[in-house]
């Protein structure tokens, strides 16, 4: 656990992914459910699949560009594409943008504030995905969905989804239904 977190985890879901392709599919299922303004935090060591998950999530948002690691630039922005058959997306005729952050290089959490990152958070025109979110654990005071990724073996990864707040709790339940309809408990 990251010591600084005081938050309440209201719902959680444990998933095991057996391949990079499966991790990507999980991201895609989540991406399809997003409406804009969401904050998705990714935590996990090097090589656990954070970027892979985000690549899937981008596909779910209808983004066709290649989503590569933002480690060097700290932020990569992808313009949204209109999603197919999404009547409820009328307010986002242009599709949702993806703001893909990577805090790998940050040593001090307060640095993220100097970057003007808050301008992106809760911006309804896009979705924020933050890799290495635990580097700035004190910053996440509101509601969010966090995914903790853990290395089980060379190809296997554990993904623990933790929702904080009722919106994200509903989102996670819908995600679980769509992904594991047969296993719903």
């Amino acid at each position: 656990m990251t010591g600084a977190s005081q938050e309440e985890v209201s719902c959680s879901l444990d998933v095991i992914s057996h391949s990079a392709a499966q991790t990507q599919r999980l991201g895609l299922r989540l991406g399809e459910l997003l409406r804009g303004g969401e904050l998705i935090l990714l935590a996990g060591q090097l090589g656990t699949g954070k970027t892979t998950f985000t690549q899937g999530l981008a596909q779910g948002l209808g983004i066709t560009e290649v989503v590569s690691s933002p480690t060097f630039t700290l932020l990569k922005e992808y313009r949204g594409q209109p999603r197919r058959g999404g009547a409820e997306q009328a307010t986002h005729a242009k599709g949702l943008a993806l703001y893909h952050f990577d805090l790998y290089r940050l040593e001090h959490p307060e640095e993220i504030l100097d970057l003007g990152f808050e301008d992106y958070f809760a911006n309804p025109t896009g979705v924020c995905v933050v890799e290495w979110a635990d580097k700035a654990a004190a910053l996440w005071s509101g509601e969010y969905l966090r995914v903790r990724l853990k290395l089980l073996s060379e190809t296997k990864r554990a993904l623990l989804f933790e929702a904080v707040g009722s919106y994200y709790c509903d989102l996670l339940q819908q995600f679980q239904k769509n992904t594991y309809a047969a296993l719903g408990n």
Binding site: L46, F72, T73, D114
Partner: protein, 394 residues
């Protein structure tokens, strides 16, 4: 034509004065590598604050070194993307302001294009007999010694791994790019796994070289006992280095576990100490393992980069292959690529090391060829942190 170039896309602040896109009269870089070394990477807020302080002194120094006054400068160019927004903003704002104040044409430059045009740079004006010739502007687009079109350029840096075909100036066709980590990023992350420090490229190159030398001296088996997988992504010119990073992580974890449980290690049971630096006593004892791991990683990454670049050069019947970006400074990459290209009689060209890493001379070089065509930007040009090369569709 004298162009003042300004570069501040990431952790360096640079100013340069370049004549006709080739002859470097001054190239000044205020590097922050030492500052960032402490953080294990670029820290954007630190970067842009430093850049703000460094920008004007760096420009003054460049003018002094070039022995030229403002009245001799014909245009100002500054990087406007891709890069860190805060850092880009410093150089771009300074460039636009000076252009306004001095009433000079201004051109925003794409950082990736600048890396490619580092290959047009030559050390000094005096060494070139062509320099004094008063040709017409349009004829200056091509001079003896310039890279030859069509060419393939491999751009490899901390943020980029792109394979690009150029049939002429400013004509870019994207052949392939990384699908996950950039080559330089893979070097940095693997250097961190191995405890080799930042920046990762030079650290890994150095560790690999020492280990290979030691292998030879101690008549240990000349083969590297570690072998890492390569992601070839056949049928495309794309790259993927994320799996290589993960494979290295597993290999290193496995070795540490073996060491802890007393199982024999490859090549003579020497100790591996993963989280120490090459300089420390513990690492000197374990040097050969860390070094061989570094060598094995470098070999894997260089293998893929060199072979795919050679294949592209073959398919598009190019006359030249260029390297660009910080990783172009890697000696193993240069050697391996030369080896690949030799049978095809295609010449490999790469910039001198000071023009491989971020610098302002390359910005002025790229700007020159745009200015030749009469291009310039309005002063409302904004930074574009996610800018890509202006690729043509084909």
């Amino acid at each position: 034509m004298l162009v003042l170039g300004i570069e501040s896309s990431c952790d360096e602040t640079g100013a340069a004065i370049v004549k006709d896109g080739r002859y470097v009269l001054a190239n000044v870089v205020a590097s922050q590598t030492e500052i960032h070394e402490r953080y294990g990477g670029v820290v954007p807020e630190v970067a842009s604050r430093q850049q703000l302080a460094a920008a004007l002194p760096v420009i003054e120094t460049a003018l002094q070194q070039a022995h030229c006054g403002w009245e001799e400068i014909d245009a100002i160019a500054a990087t406007y993307g891709p890069g860190l927004a805060g850092s880009l903003l410093v150089g771009l704002t300074v460039g636009k302001t000076l252009a306004l104040a001095r009433d000079l044409p201004f051109l925003g430059v794409n950082h990736l294009e600048a890396h490619i045009y580092a290959n047009w740079l030559r050390q000094s004006l005096d060494s070139d007999p062509q320099a004094g010739a008063a040709e017409k502007e349009t004829e200056r687009a091509y001079l003896p010694g310039d890279p030859l079109f069509p060419l393939v350029c491999l751009i490899v840096s901390g943020a980029h791994s792109e394979l690009v075909l150029m049939r002429d100036h400013a004509d870019y066709l994207l052949l392939g790019r990384t699908r996950d980590d950039a080559a330089g990023e893979a070097f940095d992350k693997v250097a961190r796994i191995l405890g080799l420090g930042y920046p990762g490229g030079p650290a890994i190159q150095q560790a690999a070289r020492l280990a290979e030398e030691e292998l030879r001296q101690q008549s240990l088996p000349a083969r590297n006992p570690y072998r890492l997988p390569r992601a070839w992504l056949r049928g495309t010119y794309d790259f993927s280095f994320s799996g290589l990073k993960t494979a290295m992580l597993h290999l290193a974890e496995g070795l540490v576990a073996d060491q802890q449980s007393g199982r024999p290690l490859p090549s003579g049971g020497r100790q591996i100490s993963r989280y120490t630096t090459m300089g420390s006593e513990a690492a000197r004892r374990g040097q050969i393992h860390i070094g061989l791991l570094a060598a094995s990683f470098q070999e894997a990454i260089v293998d893929v980069l060199a072979v795919k670049t050679r294949m592209a050069a073959q398919e598009y019947h190019v006359r030249q292959v260029l390297l660009a970006g910080g990783v172009a400074a890697n000696v193993a990459l240069r050697a391996r690529l030369e080896e690949e290209l030799a049978p095809l009689s295609i010449q490999l060209q790469y910039p001198p090391i000071e023009f491989c890493t971020d610098n302002a001379a390359m910005v002025a070089a790229a700007a020159f060829f745009h200015l030749l065509r009469g291009e310039r930007h309005d002063l409302d040009l904004d930074v574009e942190p996610s800018l890509s090369l202006p690729f043509r569709q084909e």
